[in-house]
């Protein structure tokens, strides 16, 4: 056996729970995340499940996994490779073994390694026994049988009993990381409060797992991960889609508007629609439209009518919305358009992540039709950027595109709940004076935004639409110079928003040989890579992540200009680097593009940086 890489006290650990789609791995992982949060760890999680609704049981295609990285330091990614792999059947082992670090630990339900299951997983012999796993630390846990034993007098059916074996596994892992059981038990009691027998069954299974781990002393000593130094506050684990939904709710509440969401279901954006459909208690007005075009058009109707209005989708839907986004641009209406990107083009790889809708967000409309483009960079900051998107849309009376992606949508990270005053107020640009002094395209001088007057505002009746408008009055006109002027105003209006955006901050070297640039969801991997290099003594590398894409922060050129080379890393074929090149052709760019439907690994970024430095 190889050296066990687990130590009694560790700064970071990556755990991966894996089993058949029916084995409840997502719930198990979720509960372990909760417990890690309670323990004060920072963490990031990511699920990984089959594209099929129900893949064939026991096969490699049917494996469902959940990966979490926890740490006593800041954690930005779910981890490239795994320290502890929990496998509920042979297929899970086969599917995931390549991810395990040499010297890593495997916790396997040995009861599941039956000849039938081995065959389904395409094993010729039992890997638990044939030496395949020599370089790892294998803990063979009789999870199925011990769970059945523990539950036998509850009067449950066999299937229900074996289904609890995931809680057994959780028990083993909780013990392994020295976790108190109480908050996990609380969680179970809340979740199953309608079915006391399930509460009992789950509790017993967890305890059976703990007892097994304790009594067999397989771990020698359990592991402690000290709490991370996170800012004071109340936390919860949140995924990117819920965070976006909640950001919109918070924005609506802040500015005293009703929230209208008009969307059409699509992977991986649907959960925003689901969450807000369930948020009638918060007053959310949710419309599941007949298609994406109806969705955005209804959103435009809601925006004109004075609600905080949003539409959410993914790439194919975003394409369908192109025409109507143009209407929102020329009509100058506040509208949040969320694109949770997936891997394209066309239907592409619908369950995989990518950042390839950036070009479309920037340029995907006929005519000169600029919009604000923002990208979130972690599941929890999806809340913040969703709030920001709403704030900018309303205050500047403009459509805003918020880019997220599959990685952010399905991953989770701990989110510090905003407290009173944490969120900047949203000012609704209403014209306060005499309607006679107002015109539909009268602008506020500082930011050139129109006022947002809506049905119900007495005396402000007006027409708006897709034809070019006379400056100020908004009347229809074909005047040549007016069109040029309005085109320039629409551009300038977006550009001026830059002055209100936070400036970019560089981590690592503030100038020098190489600036590593990312945007949106790649923050975690790139940040971790650069930090590790800095810790290794590399002094010549800086790092900056863009969340504001259009307009760019005011100090962008200053920052790019401080470095000899700029390495732009993105999950597409080079869209952001192309944008930077066209905006700042004077700098020297290199690009690193991964187009595999997968997030970056920290190791890939590190290798690329080292490579670039040596060029």
């Amino acid at each position: 056996m190889a050296k066990n890489i687990l130590a009694p006290e560790m700064r970071k650990v990556v755990v991966r729970f894996s089993g058949d789609s029916g084995d409840g791995m997502q719930l198990t992982g979720d509960m372990f995340s909760q417990s890690s949060g309670f323990a004060g760890n920072d963490l990031t999680t990511i699920p990984d499940f089959p594209a099929e609704i129900r893949a064939p049981q026991g096969t490699i295609g049917g494996v469902s996994s959940f990966q979490i990285q926890i740490g006593g330091t800041e954690i930005y990614t779910p981890g490239d490779s795994v320290d502890v792999l929990v496998v509920m059947n042979p297929a899970a082992l086969a599917a995931n073994l390549a991810l395990l670090k040499p010297g890593g630990t495997i916790i396997a339900d040995k009861d599941a390694f039956t000849p039938k299951n081995l065959k389904k997983a395409e094993y010729e012999s039992n890997p638990l026994e044939d030496g395949t796993l020599e370089e790892f630390h294998v803990i063979q846990a009789p999870a199925t049988s011990l769970t059945k034993e523990a539950l036998k007098d509850l009067g449950l059916e066999m299937q229900a009993m074996t289904r609890s074996k995931n809680m057994f596994a959780l028990g083993v892992v909780l013990y392994m990381f020295s976790r108190p059981l109480q908050n996990t038990i609380d969680f179970i009691e809340k979740k199953f409060y309608k079915k006391p027998v399930l509460v009992e069954a789950n509790k017993r299974a967890i305890e059976a797992g703990v007892s097994f781990a304790e009594s067999t002393e397989v771990f020698g000593r359990s592991i402690v991960i000290p709490p991370a130094k996170l800012p004071k506050g109340t936390y919860r684990n949140i995924d990117g889609n819920t965070a976006i939904a909640w950001g919109l709710l918070a924005a609506a509440e802040n500015c005293g508007k009703n929230l209208s969401l008009s969307s059409y279901p699509i992977t991986p954006a649907s959960e925003i629609l689901h969450e807000l459909s369930a948020r009638k208690d918060m007053g959310a007005i949710v419309f599941q439209a007949e298609d994406e075009i109806a969705a955005i058009c209804a959103a435009i109707g809601a925006a004109f009518s004075g609600n905080l209005s949003a539409t959410t989708t993914s790439g194919p839907g975003a394409s369908l919305k192109s025409e109507a986004i143009g209407l929102a641009v020329i009509a100058e209406l506040p509208l949040v358009i969320v694109n949770v990107q997936r891997a394209g083009p066309s239907t592409g790889l619908p369950t995989k992540t990518e950042q390839s809708d950036l070009n479309q967000a920037l340029y995907g409309r006929h005519g000169d039709a600029p919009v604000v483009v923002i990208a979130a960079s972690s599941p929890d900051d999806c809340f913040y950027y969703s709030y920001e998107a709403a704030k900018i849309a309303i205050e500047h009376v403009t459509p805003v595109i918020l880019l997220s992606d599959t990685y952010l949508a399905s991953g989770t990270s701990p989110w510090r709940l905003p407290e009173n005053g944490d969120l900047k107020d949203i000012q609704v640009p209403k014209f306060k004076g005499d309607p006679g002094k107002w015109e539909p395209f009268l602008r506020q001088p500082e930011f050139l935004n129109r006022y947002w007057m809506s049905p119900g505002d007495k005396g402000f009746e007006h027409r708006n639409g897709g034809l070019e408008k006379k400056e100020i009055t908004g009347n229809l006109t074909y005047e040549p110079l007016n069109h040029q002027k309005m085109t320039k105003i629409r551009e300038e209006k977006i550009d001026r928003i830059a002055s209100r955006l936070p400036e970019l901050t560089v981590s690592g070297a503030q100038s020098g040989k190489l600036l590593v640039v990312g945007w949106g969801s790649t923050h975690g991997a790139i940040n971790t890579a650069v930090r590790e290099l800095l810790e290794d003594g590399e002094e010549d590398v800086g790092f900056v992540q863009f969340n504001y894409i259009n307009p760019l922060p005011v100090n962008t050129a200053d920052i790019l200009g401080g470095f000899e080379q700029i390495l732009v890393c993105e999950l597409n074929n080079g869209q952001f680097v192309h944008y930077l090149r066209s905006k700042f052709p004077e700098f020297k760019y290199r690009q690193f593009n991964k187009i595999q439907g997968q997030p970056f690994f920290t190791s890939e970024i590190k290798a690329e940086i080292i490579n670039t430095l040596s060029r």
Binding site: V286, G306, N307
Partner: protein, 340 residues
Amino acid sequence: MQTDAKENKTDLTKKDFVSDQTVRWCPGCGDYMILAIMQKAFARMDHAKEEHLSVSGIGCSSRITYYLDTYGVHSIHGRAIAVATGAKLANPGLNVWVFTGDGDCMAIGGNHFIHACRRNADLNIIIFNNKIYGMTKGQSSPTTPVGLKTKTAPEGSHENPFNIGEVAIGSGATFFARVPDNNPKLLEDIMMQAYHHKGTSVIEVLQNCVIFTDGIHEQITGRDTKDDNQLVLEHGKPMIFGKDQNYGIKLNGMRLEKSALKNGTDASLVHDEGEKDPAMHLALTRMQLPGHPVAMGVIRKVEAQNYSEKVHEAIAFERETSTFKGVNDLFRSGNTWEIG
């Protein structure tokens, strides 16, 4: 339903709904009448001026938004109904009217149309049916009759046209009315009935385009032929028509037949706009020349679940019964932990 013009809650007059924009339709276009009557009807409705919303798509007909002094959205081709649905849901207090053409509504906008009929949110939709694309200069529309020569059917159209009423009712419409552009009284009455109807109201106006389909409705709407060729329906009244009121409608199996009336009105069917089973209403919308008169007036007006109302009832219920006072309660529900 006819009420006196000033029995409503506002003191607005037709003039209040005339915008300052020059009307730019061809002289003689049927759209002028629809505009004038709409302005009149708005003044008769109970909503305050700032609570009316006009939404249109793109087409000659859709230009009407600019001429109505209400809040208005001149949206994009085919999408007026979608915009209006969003607006109505956003603010259920608004009086929302959609103005659309046969191309705008039945070609590119067809999907939104059938879904609006199905959902039955409280929208009022007026379709200006000139059986042609006017604004783009004369291509076939989905209501263009077979054989008509158009720019895209130089040897005559090969496509079977939609019957708007059948599509609407087949998709679940609870209110359907038809009216020629030269019957202002009926038009105004229908507008008021649509206004009072809770749910999606569909009004098909047979509108004359003097440029591209001049006279296409002539047989139905012409001065000399209209009485014989139109059956103007009234709820609870027998279906009688003809210059001398000498024809009625009879049922034969499941079909409607024109019948000469000999002795009194008793021989004719009586119109029941409120009959939920749509068979009769569908049969009425299907009647066509020759052989049958064309049905005008409110053909169908029934009650059914209204989407905008239901959604807001559900929201009101959830808000009342929820323990969350605001987002902070929501955020703090479930599994949270403290640090620090």
